[in-house]
Every structure is written in structure tokens, then in C-alpha cells.
Amino acid sequence: MAVRRAEEMGGYGHSDFETEEVHVLAVDDSLVDRKVIERLLKNTSCKVTAVDSGRRALQFLGLDDDKEANGFNGLKVGLIITDYSMPRMTGYELLKSSVFREIPVVIMSSENIITRIDRCLEEGAEDFIVKPVKLSDVKRIIDYMTADFVGGGRRVINKRKLRDDSGDRSSLSPPYTIISIFIVNTGFSHQTSQNGKL
């Protein structure tokens, strides 16, 4: 994926989907699960980077303590999919980290615990997948995350908002003010791609 120059980007004028590929950052401390999730995502035509910890996820996004927030990574991340139970930094802690306000986060867990699911969704997770992850789980998520573009609608990201029971997104307010280059370029917040299709 080519590195985009700063002047090409800006607010809502730039699409992830011109390349027709979503770049997904997968986070899981399990070697086996990383391999599987990577294949599942590639099978749904995503570009994938798989890392083994929350710390490495932050590093990849150029957002760990050692770097400034504008450490732009040329490969824009459009979605983070993370395991819940990881040593040192759980998926929930990763989600809470404010840096992910503009990138949707999906949580995976082998444990189907209602309170855990609720907590993650309340904290702004896009979705929660119970492991083992199936192709249909991944397809469902990629499909509905990109569906807004087909109709030319603007993507509203469920971040830091309480989901109401119906999961009705029209009640959510618009995305946060964009303040850094990297965040601008995670552009789901954008209108149609060229032909209204992905």
C-alpha cells in the first residue's frame, strides 16, 4: 500500500477504499490464533498486520511513549481486532486507551461472559466475537463496517457512546474532532467511493 502524502489527505475527502482494502490490525498473544485471524481477514480481502500485544499495537500505530502522536504509519489502520485476555495489557485496556477513538475496535474472547461483553460495548467496542473465530464472524464485521459506503452514507463510529438496545446508530453523535494527521487518515468518516461500491 503506497504511503499517502499529507496534502492528499484531509478531513473527509480521502478514502481508504480507493484501494478496496481495509487494513486491519490484529492483536493476540496466541501464536495459533494470530495465524488463524490473519488468514480469516485476508480471506475477506483485508490487508493484515498481526501483533502479539497491546504494546506492540501502540508501537505499530506510532503511539507508544517513545513516539509523538504524529508518527504516521503509511499503512492506515481501518480496524483493530483484539483478543480480550492478554498479559500486561488486556484488549479492554487497549480499547479504553484514548488513542483509538477514531479507529473501530472489535474484541475477541473465548469466554462468553455477558458482563464482559456489555462492558466492552459500553466502552465503545464495535463488536464482540466469541472464539473460536469463524469466517462468518469476520465477514459479518467487515461487511457491516463497509456497508455505510455503499449507500453513500456517512460512517458513524460507535466510540465512547452507550449503545442503546436496538443498536441504532442514528442516535450517535458525529466523530470527534480530528487533531492529528494519522487520525485524519483512518477515514471511515467519508462519503461514497468512486462507484458506490467497495
Binding site: V36, N43, S110, K131
Partner: protein, 150 residues
């Protein structure tokens, strides 16, 4: 049924894994991710599983030798082992892992020790079967079309 006798044997072997409860639906998920571009995907994942499992089994063994048992640590290791077993569809191994975790929760030393022996047996059996399966698959050669039973 495939005309190739080796491939027929492979199909019979594979079916027995499901019929006898060694593997579950998740294994089929992995098979469906295998294609011409990734012709050995399932075996690659299973090989990673062996590597991961060896490490975890060793950690658990060492933890079971300590007195007193650190049940939280044992549970943590087994949580990982259960997870990867689940991801490849290792049904019996997963069931033993679940049982082990129950014993951890109830702080049952005897239960943990017994259960772990059983788990290692199931793991060894599965590994032997899968190794024979992939070896036969290599002998049988690539499939002309992906027409899997089940």
C-alpha cells in the same frame, strides 16, 4: 468418494476424527481457509499448535511440581492451552482443558493432577492421528477439486 485409493483412505480417516469426537467444526473452518495460494494452511496451524502446546504442557508440569499449587497460574496456562486447542478444533483436548480449569477453580489438587494426565494422553493421541493424516495427505497428492465430505 474419491477414486484415488489413498485419498479415499484419507477421507475415511478424516471422517473418523469427527465421528469419534477428536475434532469439531472449527477444524473444518481451517480447511475452508486452505486454497491453492495456501495449500498447507491447516498443517501449518497444527504445527504451530504443537509448538505452543509443548511449551504450555511443560509450564503446567513444572507448576504441578511446586508446593503449594499456584492454581491461578495453572488456570492461566490452561486458559491459553484451551484457547489454542479450541482454535484448531481439538475437541477432546478442549474438553479436558475445561475440566482442568474447573478443578483449578475448586482448588482440587488431586483433580488437577489426574486430569492433566488424561489431557496429555488425549493430546498425544490427537497428535499421532493428525501426523499420520498429514503424512498420508502428502502421499495422496493435491486434490483436483475441493470436494470434502461433511
Amino acid at each position: 468418494m474419491d477414486r484415488n485409493p489413498l485419498r479415499r483412505q484419507l477421507q475415511i480417516m478424516r471422517k473418523s476424527f469427527f465421528d469419534q469426537g477428536y475434532l469439531d467444526e472449527q477444524f473444518v473452518q481451517l480447511e475452508e481457509l486452505q486454497d491453492e495460494a495456501n495449500p498447507n494452511f491447516v498443517e501449518e496451524v497444527v504445527t504451530l499448535y504443537y509448538r505452543d502446546s509443548a511449551r504450555l504442557i511443560l509450564s503446567i508440569e513444572q507448576a504441578l511440581e511446586r508446593k503449594p499449587f499456584d492454581f491461578n497460574k495453572l488456570d492461566a496456562h490452561m486458559h491459553q492451552f484451551k484457547g489454542s486447542s479450541s482454535s484448531i478444533g481439538a475437541k477432546k483436548v478442549k474438553a479436558e482443558s475445561t475440566q482442568f480449569r474447573e478443578y483449578c477453580k475448586s482448588r482440587n489438587r488431586e483433580g488437577c493432577t489426574r486430569c492433566f494426565q488424561q489431557l496429555k494422553k488425549e493430546y498425544a493421541t490427537l497428535r499421532k492421528k493428525l501426523e499420520a493424516y498429514f503424512q498420508l495427505a502428502r502421499q495422496a497428492g493435491p486434490m483436483e477439486t475441493a470436494c470434502r465430505p461433511k
